[in-house]
Symmetry: C2
């Protein structure tokens, strides 16, 4: 059952207009259709390419263009797909665990075992003001809450034992109450009795994804996650991260392949290298300074950079309490290492946001992915299409078939659940 | 546009096995299919009958059989229907308004203007223990929070002005930020900045339904609701409630027909009166004392009746702080007026739970509905099928056509939004 995986995991990280900060200005981008229609088409394409899952980010505040709440959206998409996994982001900082456990268990029931929860701690300080707080919860406190939050959700998901449903009409017994466990969790942050009021998951329990890469984030993931989504700019960094994470997982008493490590990849694909460069150039030329600066400010930990000269260096910044500590570190290292101005730095991250970036032919992109996969840097990739639908199509129609020809990716689904696509044991 | 409505509004209040407390034991009830499949079939049937909406109750604790969270479920159902309205219940007591505003705005976007929110304050005391509280929030405090909660949600829904989307690719302007209003709400219970990160509603804003009928509940509904769902046992009581509510609405400066009053109806339908009585008898014979007692205990305000003799009278009870005050009053009045024992009372409410109950032929049921509609007792009805799918089919195939023959109900949808089905003005 758990044969060594020789194939990549691939998920599509979808954004309403695509990942490039100027994607909405691209001639092909559809600004008018309702979000559901745009995502429906994209997910159905991704399913035809046999991807493991689609992946949606989230923020509980307005940043950029409005969209729809990801669990609600994926639930509607569950009804118009049959195999592809459905991973939504939900924060532990401004939610309640009973509510989140219930939503993902519901998505899992509706989709027949295809749900995944990307557990995040909120990297957008503006969220605080939508939940009655003057300031964002700081980094350490967010992670302390996240750990308990995870444990409550996990406990609620496991409250239904095998055989809990008796379904004895004649005898008048619907449930065996001895097999429906209360949780009675009492922690620092939460007190939750349970049981959850949703039937048990068709895949044991939903998949847990995590996307924090600071020291604290790594420890949480090593203890609790099935998949880690991470931003790595170079092969060497990715290898170091991979080794570090697999080691931590073992120290937590888990099998190394029970955690799948999936860096993001921002690939701009053309039938020739020149075509790919031209596509990228078109998008880069559409970046407005205001939008670039706002994106950079969020990515380095929620700092306002508007007072600094665009063509001057990135100022020294305190370690962020509000945002992503790992991303702040990644981007300041790039800026210092290459001596980039603020403008050059936002141009650098306008597409990939610091993730692995490849611009080239399908063969060149596949070569890079293969190199990372075969040299202990990745178990798979979270694909970040530059535009939607064009940039997604390029990857699905050009890169995926190339990976399939190389035997690196499936040509049809074997299982029906997200856990089976990812090669993970049934949850328990 | 707002011509006097001569037709009924009809919604289907769906429960996993049907409304009768013993429905799950009925020979026709499917205990095995996933909830989504059961509901999909039911909603598609209801749409073929041109009903205004389906309606789902909710509780954030396990009571009886587990199911799936209603917004998630309706979102999946939105993808497999095109016209019928989708109303889900969500409590103001154990949620945050930014989250609820976002979920219903998302459902509304996904369904193209068919969403409704049934605002409740939680009548199930067991919910408290899933949200870190030792005791349920008391009645007055629940309603005080509910009023603010509503105002925040409503304000967030209205944050997007006409023309907020500029969509100017060449000029580099996606949104007109002057037309995206912050809310900056500061109340006793909530501080919420906004704006909401979901595009504006296709029907102006989602429909707001309310289901509290105590003095405080009526005032909240008169000030804020589009639809009131209410439990009324007799024509005279329903007329008094109807007059009272329309008067309150006017005192709040609103047009009386801007609030639709919809009592629940528990109808057991047979092709002959005897067949209907036999159907009802079959269900009544399946009631177990434990289940009947538990239902009654919840309905009279979360009191444990297990210590009292089944064939003795209902004890005197203090006014409930935890549950539905109006339902407690309704049921104690029935018990005292008719001198019912505890067993007789739970048998009385095992199907209709105190709602208007009719057992008879399609003509007899339609006669009763017509009488209520034409004598100022109801603008429509929330249909409570005894079993699913059988009891729903009986109403849709036998009663609805009879109402259509009488010109009391539509034979095809005219509009596309829930507001238009209900004859309500576009929300703003
Ligand atoms: C690749 C990646 C994607 C992320 N996506 C989101 C997201 O969609 N929403 C969110 O609130 N936080 C997101 N985060 C941030 C996580 O919430 C993370 O827990 C938090 O910012 C702390 O990050 P750190 O451990 O890297 O410091 C993401 C982080 C990474 C590394
Ligand atoms: C017909 C009806 C249906 C209701 N449905 C629900 C429900 O699904 N979930 C819930 O928590 N409360 C429900 N309630 C209770 C409401 O939350 C109500 O606000 C609260 O119990 C107080 O009721 P009262 O104003 O009648 O005292 C319902 C109430 C009525 C009258």
């Amino acid at each position: 059952m758990m044969a060594a995986r020789k194939q990549l995991s691939l998920t599509a990280f979808l954004m309403r207009h695509g990942h490039h900060v100027a994607a909405w200005r691209h001639p092909d981008t559809d600004l008018v259709s309702p979000p559901f229609e745009v995502y429906r088409d994209a997910v159905q394409r991704a399913e035809r390419a046999c991807l493991d899952a689609v992946f949606l980010a989230d923020s509980v505040a307005l940043t950029g263009a409005p969209s729809v709440e990801p669990v609600t959206l994926l639930s509607a998409l569950a009804a118009v797909t049959s195999r592809i996994g459905l991973v939504a982001t939900a924060t532990t900082t401004y939610n309640e665990p009973y509510t989140v456990a219930r939503q993902f268990a519901s998505l899992d029931s509706i989709s027949n075992g295809r749900a995944g929860w990307n557990l995040v701690t909120s990297d957008n300080a503006a969220e605080a003001a939508n939940f009655g707080r003057e300031r964002h919860v700081d980094h350490a406190a967010r992670y302390a809450r996240a750990r308990e939050f995870h444990d409550v959700v996990d406990g609620l998901w496991q409250g239904w034992e095998e055989g809990a449903f008796v379904n004895d009409k004649a005898g008048g017994r619907l449930l065996d109450s001895a097999k429906v466990r209360r949780l009675d969790y009492r922690g620092e942050h939460f007190a939750v009795s349970g049981p959850l009021n949703v039937p048990p998951s068709p895949q044991g329990k939903p998949v847990v994804v995590q996307a924090g890469s600071s020291e604290t984030g790594r420890e949480l993931a090593a203890a609790t996650a099935d998949v880690v989504f991470t931003a790595q700019a170079t092969l060497a960094d990715a290898q170091a991260f991979y080794r570090d994470m697999k080691g931590r997982v073992e120290r937590h008493g888990r099998a190394p392949d029970s955690l799948r490590i999936m860096p993001g990849i921002f690939a701009v694909v053309g039938t020739s290298e020149q075509e790919a460069q031209d596509k990228f150039g078109l998008l880069q030329g559409l970046i407005e300074p205001g939008a670039g600066l706002a994106l950079l400010g969020r990515m380095i930990g929620n700092f306002d950079l508007s007072g600094y000269p665009l063509d001057g260096p990135l100022p020294d910044l305190p370690v962020t309490q509000d945002g992503q500590r790992s991303r702040q570190q990644l981007l300041t290292a790039i800026a210092q290492g290459e001596n980039l101005s603020i403008r050059q730095l936002y141009e650098r991250i306008a597409g990939g946001r610091g993730h692995f970036t490849v611009i080239g032919t399908p063969e060149q992109v596949a070569d890079q992915m293969q190199a990372w996969f075969e040299s202990g840097a990745a178990d798979g990739f979270n694909l970040m299409p530059p535009t939607l639908p064009g940039g997604l199509d390029d990857v699905l129609r050009l890169v995926v078939p190339e990976l399939q020809r190389r035997g690196l990716f499936r040509t049809r689904y074997e299982g029906t659940t997200l856990r089976s696509h990812l090669g993970l044991r049934e949850g328990k």
